[in-house]
């Protein structure tokens, strides 16, 4: 019973309390770049979730085999292999999404969510819990990405779920009876605010969403999101040195070693 409860907790923590994007501030690059349409966001979310679950399982299964000194390169190899697999699957089954995601699909390799979870969770916990953690985090990532994409797509392009057929290409030619998203702007005769799907809109919507998340967290008495999120990043130790502005000293210490 207890074990079940804790597994459920591992699963749901990624949705809100430890949401990877808004609370841990990981994976900001794909979040900003891909959130121009909900269809792309879902495609990106599913791909990243697949990589996250698979790499969490593999790393957790290998956690006693991998020596801790070379763990980061080992994790990177595992993650890169799964990214390659997912890349090939996407290319084969949903070519439209492959074209839309472009270079951001292989860049899942350097998405800090995945390396971060490997380092913070999968390397220390049993296989089942790691798989659940990966799934929860992946769903949290997909949800946040989709919400942000929905805001940007509605305001910036006046559509919602446009080109959905491209994502559903796996299920045959016409899975939803030809449904291919809503065209809100056309229906109500509105002019979309293009800036929201351009780069500045991405930063702006992300900032506002993060402010909302901070407000919610504050109500529950939790600390607000800072780039502290880096703490789950394997490079955190040297990074925080830079941010605190004392790189020189540590250098000399290292030198004397």
């Amino acid at each position: 019973m207890d074990e079940k409860k804790s597994l459920r907790k591992e699963f749901t923590k990624g949705f809100l309390s430890e949401n990877p994007v808004l609370r841990l501030v990981l994976g900001t690059c794909p979040t900003l770049a891909i959130s121009t349409s909900v269809t792309n966001a879902i495609g990106m979310g599913i791909s990243a979730t697949m990589v996250l679950v698979c790499s969490n399982i593999a790393i957790s299964a290998l956690r006693r085999v991998i020596p801790s000194k070379v763990r980061i390169p080992a994790y990177v190899v595992v993650i890169a292999s799964f990214v390659t697999i997912v890349q090939m699957l996407v290319e084969a089954f949903v070519p439209a999404i492959d074209a839309a995601l472009g270079v951001y699909l292989p860049l899942i390799v350097v998405n800090c969510i995945i390396l971060g979870r490997a380092e913070a969770f999968a390397g220390k916990n049993p296989v089942a819990a790691s798989a659940i953690d990966g799934l929860g985090m992946g769903i949290g990532f997909t949800m946040t990405l989709s919400i942000m994409a929905a805001i940007r797509e509605i305001l910036g392009a006046g559509t919602l779920l446009a080109n959905l057929q491209g994502l559903l290409a796996v299920f045959g030619d016409n899975p939803l009876g030809g449904f291919n998203g809503f065209n809100i702007a056309e229906k109500f005769n509105l002019t979309p605010m293009t800036i929201f799907i351009l780069a500045p809109g991405g930063f702006f919507v992300f900032g506002i969403l993060m402010a909302c998340a901070n407000r919610l967290a504050e109500k529950k008495g939790k600390p607000k999101a800072e780039l502290k999120g880096c703490s789950s990043c394997p490079m955190a130790a040297s990074c925080s040195l830079i941010i605190n502005g004392e790189p020189k000293e540590s250098k000399q210490e290292e030198g004397t070693k």
Binding site: T28, V76, V103, V109, F203, G207, N214, P247
Partner: protein
Amino acid sequence: MKLYIAILLTAILTENFVLSKFLGICPFLGVSKKLNTAVGMSTAVIFVMALSTAVTYPINKYILRTDYAYLRTIVFILVIASLVQLVEIILKKFIPALYNALGIYLPLITTNCAVLGVVLLNITKELNFAQSMFNSIGGGLGFMVAMVMFSGVRERMESCDIPKFLQGLPIVLIAASLVSVSFLGFTGLVDGMFG
């Protein structure tokens, strides 16, 4: 020559890596608090970008070719990671002055998506070696321009009275959004200059 200047200007201004392609956001938000760290970080990024392009271009052209194109991601990330390690060791041993300036930033850059991104983009754009080098160095310079500009904005923001719920990252992102708007102004600049 015209073409190379166009590639350079495109990478720096119109298709700025940070502000329009969203590559390398983590260091952009994390390390841009002070001017000197921003300069140090972006110098290291330019260095690593140029170096990894110089190494991965021949690997892709002569070893992977199109037959093993699916191995690109895994090969490139490993090559970049080991290259950065190697450079760090060599610098530490032979050019300590340069190591003191850049050393600490080097390991961070391994997992920076801008570096892997530029290498992959060079291939998707089908650039030749010289063009790839210009594109990479331009990308790095663009990163530097964005970082340096933004560190100025952030230093100013320190003394501002910001609404409580916007304090910290949200206001930084909104400021980044405004800086990004200014870069939208460069749209069409390169095409206009070089036709």
